[in-house]
């Protein structure tokens, strides 16, 4: 098992610093730059009457924390999916998982207009689970469905279907505007309350992912090997899918569809730390968080003073990478 332990250690050690830097950058830059002194004061001696302090604590801080969390969740989901299915294209957005969440959230907005945030998060989770179930079922049933290409096509098409139905429902019930928040992934509208609510779910998802990491490494060698080594393959897959559903579901509930993070970060992580998922999963989480945090900062510069949806930024970075993967791997079979 090749693994680059040293690189992993470096990533784990340096990340906290980079994350801190990302947080500071993200709090500093915006429609109104806030200097370091004021940021320090906002944390050390918070003054309710000071507008800058208010901005720091109630808008910019939740936003950057949200970005870091969502990036981590999506990257971990992607890593789990790629390891589990041995499919180098597996990732939350390509597999239509996010569209499932959007679908459920749309239904929720229409039929439970007074739903609390907890209900919304739960619905989003149910939606992700629905989409995963659909994609996996179709992949099994259809010829060539389990190849990377097959699964990517099935995922994309399932996603198109779910998002078309969501669009039809939201147009009919005239909630398009509310729903478009979920679609367009506007981190700047992130609700601090929602971020807090997401934490317990996130802990469950991440703990499952970390506990499974060793089994995922074995699974990534193939089902045969895995069974030969006495692993309960089905059990591991079910749990890993559950973690994917939880992590993707809350990401969409927080900020909508953000594509490509879950696809590219696991690849970069594997390139850096090797094939051992005990390292890949935590490192992917850290790198994903940093990636999305910095993309979010970038999104404020692209069209300032207006916000650019973060999905646009990740697409600009992700699409060339995606093309590169296809070019290198083509229709190849395994991760």
């Amino acid at each position: 098992m090749q693994s680059k332990k040293a690189t992993s250690m470096i990533i784990l050690a340096v990340s906290p610093l980079v994350i801190l830097l990302t947080i500071l950058l993200s709090i500093h830059y915006g429609a109104k730059p806030i200097d370091a002194g004021t940021i320090y004061q906002a944390f050390s001696a918070f003054d309710e009457g000071n507008v800058d302090h208010q901005i720091v604590m109630h808008s910019r801080l939740p936003r950057v924390l949200g970005a870091l969390m969502i990036g981590a969740f999506l990257a971990i989901s992607g890593a789990l999916m790629q390891g589990m299915t041995r499919n180098y294209l597996a990732s939350p957005s390509i597999m239509g998982v996010s569209d499932g969440s959007v679908f459920a959230v749309t239904l929720c907005m229409v039929f439970l207009p007074s739903a609390t945030s907890v209900t919304m998060i739960t619905m989003s989770l149910i939606g992700s689970a629905l989409a995963v179930a659909m994609v996996l079922a179709f992949s099994r049933l259809l010829p060539n469905g389990l190849t990377p290409v097959g699964m990517a096509v099935i995922g994309t098409i399932t996603g198109t279907f779910l998002s078309s139905i969501s669009a039809a429902i939201s147009t009919y019930f005239q909630v398009s505007q509310n729903v478009s928040f979920w679609y367009n992934a506007r981190l700047h509208l992130l609700e601090p309350e929602l971020v807090k609510l997401a934490v317990p779910f996130a802990i469950v998802g991440i703990v499952i992912a970390l506990l499974l990491s060793k089994s995922i490494t074995i699974l990534s060698l193939g089902d045969e090997v895995s069974r030969g080594l006495g692993q309960r393959t089905v059990m591991v897959k079910v749990l890993a899918t559950a973690a994917v559903v939880i992590l993707t579901g809350i990401s969409v509930a927080l900020a909508g569809k953000i594509a490509f993070v879950g696809l590219i970060i696991p690849h970069i992580t594997r390139f850096l730390v090797g094939l051992d998922y005990r390292w890949i999963i935590p490192c992917a989480g850290l790198l994903g968080g940093i990636f999305l945090g910095l993309s979010d900062v970038l999104s404020r510069f692209m069209n300032s003073p207006f916000e650019t949806p973060i999905g646009v930024v990740t697409a600009f970075i992700g699409v060339p990478f995606f093309l590169y993967l296809i070019y290198k791997r083509g229709g190849g079979k395994h991760a």
């Binding site: 096509v153 198109t160 279907f161 083509g330």
Partner: protein, 339 residues
């Protein structure tokens, strides 16, 4: 084969008849109901009533004509693209050609926002050209990434299409967000595939493309038949494969771009129509091509009627209606593929 020809003719006319029926329903129904007699009188200019004229000539008819033209164009272009790539799942939408044309047109609206608003002849005639540029760009990227060892890798083709589609979609979204609110609304509605402001000028803008390019394709049907054979044998027959393929591809991208410039990215028509046509009439492109066009026409006219009436008073983008119907069909096609 006189038999096949007869069957084809029958199918062709049945389709036209069904489309006319759909057009009739679409013309008479809506927020303002009209009787058959009213419609016929208005069309034939017998005692014209100003109100009816307005509803028929300014609202309903242009929209129906656009739906029919777009459907025909997409059906034909889809057949050609499936024929060139020898991939039954290829469709201008799935391959990202719609997105390419769309991104270019949004760019056009972005840079010439003001002129676009007055819907002048100049801008409407220029839009398909911009679409063509974008469509060609998308096709160029597809070739670049899906071309391996002198052939289009069918596996890679679709993946590259998905990637290009989402990338160019992001470009379009980015540009549309930088627009002023009026243009943005148009761009947004239009990007989902909607016949939003049908008028006769738009029809005049897209019609030349169809009138010129569809006969070009019709003359090449035998080449499409040959392209279904292996690359080697076609070359041995002395067919300049590359040249013919480029002409076919360019023409179909031209048609798709003209369609996208008036109706946005409507997916799945180019996927479904050729399959249905092939099932009905066999594999000869001489028959498949026109039949696929009429099937596409029927689909879009019917879907547009559904889109504008089912949820009244709210209108659905026609692209959404088509994808809700198209996706199950796509899965059906996938399930019939060999292992």
């Amino acid at each position: 084969m006189p038999n096949r020809k007869g069957k084809f003719r029958l199918l062709f006319f049945v389709n036209i008849a069904l489309t006319l029926l759909a057009i009739y329903i679409s013309l008479t129904n809506g927020a303002f109901d009209m009787t058959v007699l009213d419609v016929i009188r208005t069309l034939l200019r017998i005692d014209p009533v100003a109100e009816y004229d307005l509803v028929i000539f300014d609202f309903r008819l242009p929209r129906i004509v656009i739906a029919a033209l777009v459907g025909f164009g997409l059906g034909v272009a889809g057949t050609v693209i499936q024929g060139i790539t020898r991939n039954g799942l290829a469709d201008p939408g799935i391959l990202g050609i719609n997105a390419g044309a769309g991104a270019a047109i949004v760019a056009f609206m972005f840079f010439f926002g003001g002129q676009f608003m007055d819907a002048s002849w100049y801008s409407i005639m220029a839009m398909p050209l911009f679409g063509l540029t974008g469509g060609l760009l998308a096709a160029g990227l597809i070739y670049l990434f899906a071309w391996r060892n002198g052939a289009l890798d069918p596996q890679r083709l679709i993946l590259v299409g998905i990637a290009i589609g989402s990338g160019l979609g992001a470009v379009a979204l980015y540009l549309s967000l930088k627009m002023n609110p009026n243009d943005f609304e148009m761009a947004a509605v239009w990007l989902t595939g909607s016949i939003w402001s049908a008028n006769w000028t738009h029809i005049a803008g897209m019609l030349p493309w169809l009138v010129i390019l569809i006969p070009v394709l019709m003359r090449k049907v035998h080449i499409l038949d040959l392209l279904q054979l292996s690359e080697e044998s076609v070359k041995n027959l002395g067919v300049p494969v590359e040249k013919e393929r480029n002409i076919l591809l360019l023409s179909s991208i031209g048609i798709v771009s003209a369609c996208v410039s008036v109706s946005g990215g409507i997916g799945f028509v180019g996927l479904m129509a050729p399959h249905i046509a092939k099932r009905l009439t066999g594999i000869q492109h001489r028959y498949v091509l026109p039949l696929s066009g009429t099937i596409g026409m029927l689909m879009v006219v019917a879907a547009d009627f559904i889109a504008k009436t089912v949820f009244t008073p709210i209108e659905l983008p026609v692209g959404i209606v088509i994808s809700i119907i198209g996706v199950p069909y796509f899965f059906y096609l996938l399930s019939r593929r060999k292992k």
